[in-house]
Symmetry: C2
Subunit: 334 residues, 2 copies
Amino acid sequence: MRAAWLENGQLSVRDLPGPDAAPGWARIRVTLAGICGTDLELARGYKGGFAGVPGHEFVGVVEAAPDAPEWLGRRVTGSITIACGSCDLCRAGLPGHCRNRRVLGVLGHPGALADCLTLPVANLHAVPDSVPDAAAVFCEPLAAALQVLEQVTVTPQTRAAVIGDGRLGLPAAWALARTGAAVTLFGHHPERTDWGAERGVRWQPADSGEPRAFDLVLEATGAPGGAAAALRLVRPRGTLVLKSTMAAPATLNLAGVVVDEITVVGSRCGPFPKALAWLAAADAPPVARLVAAEYPLDRAPEAWARAQRPGTLKVLLRPGIRNGSAAPSVLPLP
Amino acid sequence: MRAAWLENGQLSVRDLPGPDAAPGWARIRVTLAGICGTDLELARGYKGGFAGVPGHEFVGVVEAAPDAPEWLGRRVTGSITIACGSCDLCRAGLPGHCRNRRVLGVLGHPGALADCLTLPVANLHAVPDSVPDAAAVFCEPLAAALQVLEQVTVTPQTRAAVIGDGRLGLPAAWALARTGAAVTLFGHHPERTDWGAERGVRWQPADSGEPRAFDLVLEATGAPGGAAAALRLVRPRGTLVLKSTMAAPATLNLAGVVVDEITVVGSRCGPFPKALAWLAAADAPPVARLVAAEYPLDRAPEAWARAQRPGTLKVLLRPGIRNGSAAPSVLPLP
């Protein structure tokens, strides 16, 4: 198979042996894959010395599934954690936290920046016909945004803030606003002022928030200073949700957490079925706005460099387009 | 009045003008006061350059209350936060987090290491007759320990750990064990192995805990590295409770909090009525074990130095005993 390969922080494209689908597994031809902030953090040293195929946001078509033929030819995306099924956390209903887990493109299993990947059939989620590939590829980050609503009670009375108006913060703000909560989105991109306006998201410049004024603050900057900036906005007895995973150590003033009795909630992957249902709903999030550029797989290093530029939204790879067959479609900002 | 005075990190004893009780307030003759870790942190620079009378753990007798004569002569302890009653947090039922608050012996109001203090009548709590002064003086730290149970659900199935077997950790372990939870207390004092045994608390040496094995971990070391040590023991989706307030900045590996979806809960002051009820109950906590020494007020600098020694439990001051009238009763360890 053709795949992007990340090693010593450098991305290249190479031919690798194509994977077979073992019993219980499926082989999926990748249609479209996204580059996530976590992928870029892998290059910076998150998870130690990563060497392998990165990528965990994808949509594709099942082309082999030895003992689950009903999946053949179906359009799917997939949960990224491959659980052992037998450790105490799997048995306790937390397979996402499996002690022996592998994670697609992150830990011990080749990822989605390739023309082909494998996943257990149990991880597959069928994409509704009404959801195009260009939307379905956002299933994983939307699920991560929706996860906050699984962990924290949000009501129309909640004064919520999201710090960071990028590829993580925008979906998070949309997800929070879906509850009817008043959401203020703090960021560095005034051109995105109206991206959530119709959904009740109010944009404000970063660092302009009233200190200790929000019931719920979600940190989605992807930057080491983000947690401290977010903490400043949380009211006493309020909640701070952390979503960024970074190679650089991030610190928090714990005395402030104690004195103000703040609850800090770490939040990671989320419910794929709910994300797919949202993408199929009348109020589907405007994910097309999040696409900065689309590249063929063979130009993955260019795509990677583009994704690393500060302020870049989602960069997609389309493995079906081979080297030279198409220029990157660098979309204008909406 | 005679009072301990903390300034530039140095404690002295001096005569100060005695306070009057304004309408709505009470003047209390202090019978017994405790030195808390937070007091020692004030000397290290917590809350900036503290200059004043420290101390917020006390029991005493009301000797003036201009418009609440029913309190005269009663034995009391008192909540330490003096709230404005009119800010948004007071109106929201969170007077302990009042934006304009003063805090007895911590912030803007003279404290309890004195023969006399004032507090609003609304802050007073009558001490039941069955609770001796030597127990009632522990009301504030016991309330702080019980606060955890107000914030986090603890059941007999909860695997709980407390990090730190000192004046903060021991009451916290007892409070958690009262729910029937299995509590492991990690510390540096093997001589305290059996202090909680009869209540179901199992002692283990510090740093001997199985990583990621506990549903709930309470950090009560009072040391900057405590939070990180505690986090290592929390299972995925588990809860870390922080109780220490310190001058030194304490940091946490936020990537670990996100990936394991840990909930971190800051916890501070607690419910005085519940603490007094516990002290009056058949299963009252063995607070006498927590007393390391008792000094007259005039020897407060000695008492302070003693409290600063690593591993020291509670040092008490008895203002009624004047200079030279009694040697410190340095109690043997039980």
